[in-house]
């Protein structure tokens, strides 16, 4: 056990050090990409929470992100609010939308939740964010241009400063999700996923806990959106559409929604993978999606838990001594009913 912890915290330490140091050596352009990767990592993290912990699937995480982004854009650029206050409101709005979606999703699971979330994503794309409907929110044809804030007096205008800020937010969020997962919340949510009947019979309010999970997940995505708004400096609907949502879900599944490490890994892969494809190969960005989709298919046919989870499991197996069943002459349990996903 202690070996495992040592390896885990060493890995985290090395990761953080590299995350701080490497971008210091990079060009400003690559630093903006690194910030984008951190932001995308936040959205993967929101899926680690929803899919990995609760077992609920979502193809509308970028719609939640859009709530954060457009709230920040509208309040900061349109109404001259302070960024931090606007970010808070944006995260709150995202959480509210998340809870609303969660409310509809209460009775649904599996396939039907997938349909619902795709419906939500399209509704956002084509109605909520479409020019002409809620221009005071979406900015209409001219997109919002919120400026960069400062963080306790430190300006975030510089790309390295902003990157460090985004990276810090991602780390803090990962830590919070880790705490949730190892604490009561994680235990309760896993129990709900394992058996809803048993969970409610022992006194858990399924409705409240599922809505909580949707709310937190959407809040994380909303936070990502708020950061993206000031990272890019403009907010446009095309950056939050259905295809983004579906790609990030694919990434969460390929890397494995069961592990928090998938968040930074997925973020880096999404942003730098695309970039590497353009820079170092004759292929265009669209090839990235072909590869991603093919990766998803291949992954699910061969190792359904995800790459990161698979690697972690291998390491864990090596470090943790195999446990023996206490010697009892009782028969093994009959084959357990496979966990229902739908």
């Amino acid at each position: 056990m202690s070996d495992l912890r040592l390896v885990r915290w060493t890995a985290v330490g090395v990761g953080v050090a590299l995350g701080v140091l490497i971008p210091a050596l990079l060009t400003d352009f690559l630093r903006t990409l690194a910030a984008d990767a951190a932001i995308a990592g936040l959205i993967v993290l929101s899926l680690v929470l929803l899919t990995g912990m609760v077992g609920q699937i979502s193809f509308c995480q970028y719609s939640f992100a859009a709530m954060g982004a457009f709230t920040v854009g509208s309040l900061v650029a349109g109404h001259h609010w302070d960024f931090w206050l606007a970010l808070l409101v944006g995260v709150f709005f995202a959480a509210v939308v998340g809870v609303l979606v969660g409310f509809v999703a209460l009775r649904l699971s599996g396939l039907f939740l997938a349909i619902l979330t795709i419906g939500v994503a399209l509704f956002f794309d084509r109605f909520v964010l479409a020019a002409g409907n809620w221009n005071s929110f979406s900015g209409g044809l001219s997109s919002w241009r919120p400026g960069r804030p400062s963080f306790f007096g430190i300006g975030l205008r510089g790309e390295y400063a902003f990157y460090l800020f985004a990276f810090g937010v991602l780390l803090a969020a990962c830590l919070l999700v880790w705490n949730l997962r190892t604490g009561k919340t994680g235990r309760v949510l896993r129990a709900v996923r394992e058996s809803e009947v048993a969970a409610s019979t022992v006194g858990l309010n399924l409705t409240a806990w599922k809505l909580t999970a949707f709310g937190i997940s959407a809040a994380l995505a909303g936070l990502a959106g708020g950061l993206a708004a000031v990272r890019v400096g403009s907010v446009s609907a095309g950056s939050y559409d259905f295809l983004h949502s579906i790609s990030i879900a694919a990434i969460a599944i390929v890397f494995g929604a069961g592990s928090i490490a998938s968040a930074p890994a997925g973020g880096i892969f999404l942003i730098f993978g695309r970039e590497a494809l353009i820079d170092w190969t004759p292929f265009s960005t669209q090839w990235f999606d072909v590869i991603l989709g093919a990766g998803l298919i291949f992954q699910l046919v061969h190792a359904p838990d995800g790459v990161v989870v698979d690697i972690e499991r291998r390491i864990t197996r090596r470090l943790r001594p195999p446990r023996q069943m206490p010697s009892e002459s009782e028969q093994r349990s009959p084959e357990r009913v496979p966990a229902e996903v739908g």
Binding site: G183, G186, L204, L206
Partner: protein
């Protein structure tokens, strides 16, 4: 006054009358048995009592309060706990976690406390773990506390369900075929476990089982259910000699 009081509870699924005018009382401190052939409606009755199913007609009162419209998790808070015939453990969670979940359900901690590891959350966590370990010790499961629940033998899984049910400190314990899948030795041991539970936790029990020996030995009062209707009730000796019971149930087994 009975702790649990069912009056004329009926429910039907499509064309099948699963329960018809079932009336049943469980007094505080008793172990009441409910027997009947397969498909007699025993599990359906449990589902009605715990609020998983809503009866078409009739009343279910607990501690003098009508339970109509009270959700399953609220009933747990009133002091009801149950085990499942078809084992509903949290299979991919550890044995210890399985017992901690009901304690979590009653603890005041919120996700905020968890996320920031507030001292209160850590205190609750430690308290929950201690209590869960004590329960595991009581049911002789402490050695396997860190194993996955799904990897245990059936006998251990049944005991784990008991531990989980007791974790919420219930007044009324509903046991759905706790002896199913157990061999004769384990079944005999189970009766002792139930007596120990009653003694230690001062808990009232409603026990559903096929195993006549267990029910006869453990229960103070027995109801017999057949095709959704109560066909006999009384102390174990009386029920055993009731010709209708022998016809419907014992005859089938013999």
């Amino acid at each position: 006054m009975a702790l649990l009081d069912l009056t004329e509870v009926s429910i039907r699924f499509g064309g099948v009358q699963a329960l018809l005018d079932v009336s049943l009382q469980v007094r505080e401190g008793e172990i009441v048995g409910l027997i009947g052939p397969n498909g007699a409606g025993k599990t359906t009755l449990f589902n009605c009592i715990t609020g998983v199913l809503r009866p078409d007609s009739g009343h279910i009162a607990y501690d003098g309060k009508d339970l109509a419209g009270v959700k399953t998790h609220r009933r747990a808070r009133l002091g009801m706990a149950r085990t499942f015939q078809n084992l509903q453990l949290f299979g991919r969670m550890s044995v210890l976690e399985n017992v901690m979940v009901p304690i979590d359900a009653f603890s005041p901690g919120t996700p905020v406390g968890d996320a920031f590891r507030l001292p209160t959350a850590r205190f609750e966590e430690r308290k929950a773990e201690e209590r869960a370990r004590a329960l595991l010790y009581f049911l002789d499961l402490l050695d396997v506390a860190d194993l996955q629940a799904g990897d245990l033998s059936v006998g251990m899984q049944r005991r784990l369900e008991l531990a989980r049910a007791l974790a919420s400190n219930p007044r009324l314990l509903l046991l759905d075929e706790p002896a199913a899948g157990l061999d004769a030795r384990e079944t005999a041991a189970l009766a002792d476990v139930l007596f120990r539970i009653r003694e230690q936790f001062k808990v009232t029990m409603l026990l559903v089982d096929h195993d006549m020996a267990l029910v006869m030995r453990a229960c103070d009062h027995i109801y017999v259910l057949d095709f959704g209707r109560i066909i006999s009730e009384g102390p174990p000796e009386d029920v055993r000699d009731d010709p209708e019971v022998i016809q419907a149930y014992l005859g089938e087994v013999a």
